[in-house]
Assembly symmetry: C2
Homo-oligomer: 113 residues x 2
Amino acid sequence: MARAAATADVFNAIAEPRRRAILDVLIGGEKAVGTIVDDLSLSQPQVSKHLRVLSEVGLVRSRADGRRRLYSVEPERLQPFHEWLAKYEQALNARLDRMDDYLKELQRQGDPQ
Amino acid sequence: MARAAATADVFNAIAEPRRRAILDVLIGGEKAVGTIVDDLSLSQPQVSKHLRVLSEVGLVRSRADGRRRLYSVEPERLQPFHEWLAKYEQALNARLDRMDDYLKELQRQGDPQ
DNA sequence: TTGACATATTCCAATATAGGAATATGATCT
DNA sequence: AGATCATATTCCTATATTGGAATATGTCAA
């Protein structure tokens, strides 16, 4: 079997660095395809294809504006990331706590009171 | 050109669902390969290969324990992901604020004081 | 309608992948 | 040393991908 499709879920969609770059550009607000092309120095078809992927997983929306097409980021769709990451923050905090305890213990022992 | 390597960065490493599953299992603490195999009903080579990828991007560590090998999660390495996500929280909050202002404005106008 | 501009899609080649099967490596015990 | 258990690696196939070039679609203006 091959790797999962880029459109399989948000995790696969943001694995591609240029797609993250596009999202980063869109944080500034709604932008036309051509603007993204200029900002990132990517080819127009490349940008359109990446936008399609982002669109399929719901990370961006688009609306027509004359002959242009304005894309904007849909930050609500980042929810899965938040949820997933939250689990590891707990693990991380627990670890930091243990580290803290350890350091305190060292300090206590080193202290010839 | 082909897709970026799974070992290219954390983003690519966690794009694969089974790798996320493995990380999830490891949140519970250090575990041997065989334990992961049992917990997730994956093949042993599959798990070893995924662990290798996770290891290469630093998301897991391993230490020898007799003939077993214990893996643990290294949540600090999710920092890039965390930072990336933080940018979008700001964008999201800004958007919610604007929405809030808009709603208040509507309310104010609708209020025949 | 014709032309110009903006974006999307198709076709192609090269590549990295995930999983399965078989096998190699490493460690422990007798 | 030999057997066994635990894990890692190699070889293979099928597949999805990214980027480039060319082209199609869609929209506005004269």
